[in-house]
Symmetry: C2
């Protein structure tokens, strides 16, 4: 998901980015990453018995900045600030809320993000990894988070919650480490990447690979593939939205504009609008990081070792799925499939819904619609 | 629309491709195309007073081969053979049904297609037009059809019907030449390309333009941009479909395949499946033709001179709109907008629906669902 609307508002939370390092990390695929570093931040206080931890796992184009500000003068707040904070649905007066920048993070050139991926220096060569960086999976994101939690003396979660690719991590937590997870919230989520989703994600990779500057991923000494990356972000942006919002944002659109009518090389204004947004965003990301995020999302199968119906049998959490009515990227049927698989396995699962004009992005911008459901869910006893 | 499932069946119709030439054609944008040629075919017989003509306008990736076979030994029949033929909804015992290859046709390298576009030789230079070919619009497709009809002595239609980009031509006919059109049928259609649709179509153009072989459209003396064209066709194919069909077609899909897990350069099987289909189809098309078809579709505004609500006032036809329930490419709201605009203008408009698992493509593969509605519609008196 590609967040194009920073939520500018007041927040009572001030947080700061911290750094966590793993000297040698072994991926799910069996490869080694040395000197792995990720950033993390937290809101609220860890209680004495470390029983009040809620982990927030972030979406494709997101970071660990889930709530609050880094400084009172910041314009934007974290993406789920509407539900995380003192007195909010995820109440930081009660919970210690923690979030971690993923591996191969999208916002690698954002100074507030700390991540390790193909744009990082491989300690063994002194050069950027490029495509020698190992393929990483949703399980790897989870395992890095688990290592961080353990370094803080934490042995279990109160809950895990995430949107979109964050929902994949949340369900992966509940499936791979069921003793850690009594409550799981999946927003605009899925239990696995079905054939449709795997193919849909591939379209984001193709413009990058076609850009002659991509050079099979070895572009770090030269010009990065900005045209391909921008095209990829244009597609991602549109697929995370829905026509209602898109058309409302372009009220003066006229299909028969003079420039594209008179010159095949010119574009409609709405195309230029989309391209300008994508080009701006491209300056803080990295094309190879995007390819690795696409692959991690494509490979997602909760539990990572058996069909979904079987994997759901090992979940011990109460679960809450909240799809968005107009989602074109991870359509509601995906959340419903995981929910149904859990019910069939005899688990306690709940299904909510966010109704909005923005499509997939409603899982972020309209999360306040789900605030009451989330708040009520968090009051329920562990099973 | 990208037809991936040839309808293999018997047909009672045999047809043949004919050639029509316009020595000098002036586009809507005011440019000149010399020695314009298009192919056309027909089913049934023109009656004495030439009052039984039904024009079928084709979709983005289609041709004039709407029904029948060129030879009894052909495997595939025309795309709407289910509703065009003796005794069928569009009954060729009664009607003279005619269809025309569009300008800048998608299937330019199909020996059965005759078209003029950027891959054609510009008579003034003796070289392929490339991007010097003028931008053409849906009105230009209509004007070529009108010139052909007039060359046959035809002065009005009994009806015009088309799917997808064909629906644009059908409504353009009814709006630009209302005295010609007493009945219009729009399947999986739209009244204009809204901001969402213009941007959605642009994503098909981008992989082509990123392919280094594209060379700003001047590739006819060298290697064509097949990688970019294939990527574009992969996207077009998926957007014309829906998850239900897509997932049913890949029953063995496993998100956690070994090849893409172990190597970032490898793809999932479903991606290879989609790529193979697209690469095959790419051999009969042309990258620049696709760019010009995208542009013609982006520029579509019925009537091409005023807002849709006003333009619909000049329509004299009874109209029938048949969206497909699961269409992700031209969602049903687009057909409903045009239908509502006609009702508001005091016109007689009808709204049907095709319900199916294939998405946009249901307008072709499941057209038999609408056969009764179409048959009944064609019995109605002109207004």
């Amino acid at each position: 998901m590609f967040l194009i609307i920073p939520q500018v508002q007041a927040s009572d939370l001030i947080t700061h980015k911290q750094r966590f390092e793993i000297p040698e990390f072994t991926t799910f695929g069996g490869k080694t990453i040395k000197q792995l570093q990720v950033g993390w931040e937290s809101y609220g206080e860890l209680n004495a018995d470390k029983s009040n931890v809620i982990l927030i796992t972030h979406f494709f184009s997101g970071s660990s900045h889930a709530a609050g500000k880094y400084a009172p003068s910041d314009e934007a707040v974290g993406y789920w600030d509407a539900i995380i904070g003192p007195g909010k649905a995820i109440d930081t007066r009660r919970f210690f809320v923690l979030s971690v920048d993923t591996l191969v993070n999208f916002n690698v050139h954002d100074p507030k993000v700390i991540t390790t991926g193909p744009a990082s220096i491989n300690p063994d060569t002194g050069k950027p990894w490029g495509l020698d960086f190992p393929v990483v999976t949703i399980r790897d994101f989870v395992n890095v988070q688990k290592a961080l939690l353990e370094s803080l003396g934490i042995q279990s979660l109160y809950a895990v919650a995430g949107a979109s690719m964050g929902s994949m991590q949340a369900l992966e937590w509940a499936t791979a480490y069921p003793d850690w997870v009594p409550r799981m919230i999946s927003v605009i989520g899925a239990g696995q990447s079905d054939a449709w989703t795997v193919a849909a994600l591939e379209h984001w990779a193709q413009p990058i690979k076609l850009d002659p500057n991509w050079q099979q991923g070895n572009y770090y000494a030269g010009e990065p593939p900005m045209a391909g990356l921008t095209a990829a972000l244009m597609l991602l942006t549109q697929q995370a939205l829905y026509p209602d919002f898109f058309n409302q944002s372009n009220p003066d659109h006229n299909p028969l504009e003079a420039a594209p009518l008179n010159d095949i090389r010119q574009s409609h204004q709405v195309v230029n609008w989309l391209r300008d947004m994508a080009a701006t965003r491209a300056t803080i990301t990295d094309a190879n990081h995007m390819l690795y995020l696409i692959r991690a999302s494509q490979l997602f199968l909760a539990g990572q070792d058996k069909p979904l119906a079987q994997a759901m049998q090992q979940v011990k959490a109460r679960t809450l799925f909240i799809p968005a009515s107009h989602d074109l990227l991870l359509m509601p049927y995906l959340a419903k499939q995981a929910h149904q698989a859990l019910l069939k396995a005899g688990k306690t699962s709940n299904l909510g819904l966010i109704v909005g004009p923005m499509g997939h992005l409603d899982g972020v911008t309209n999360i306040s619609q789900a605030a009451e459901d989330i708040q009520a869910f968090l009051t329920q006893e562990a099973l």
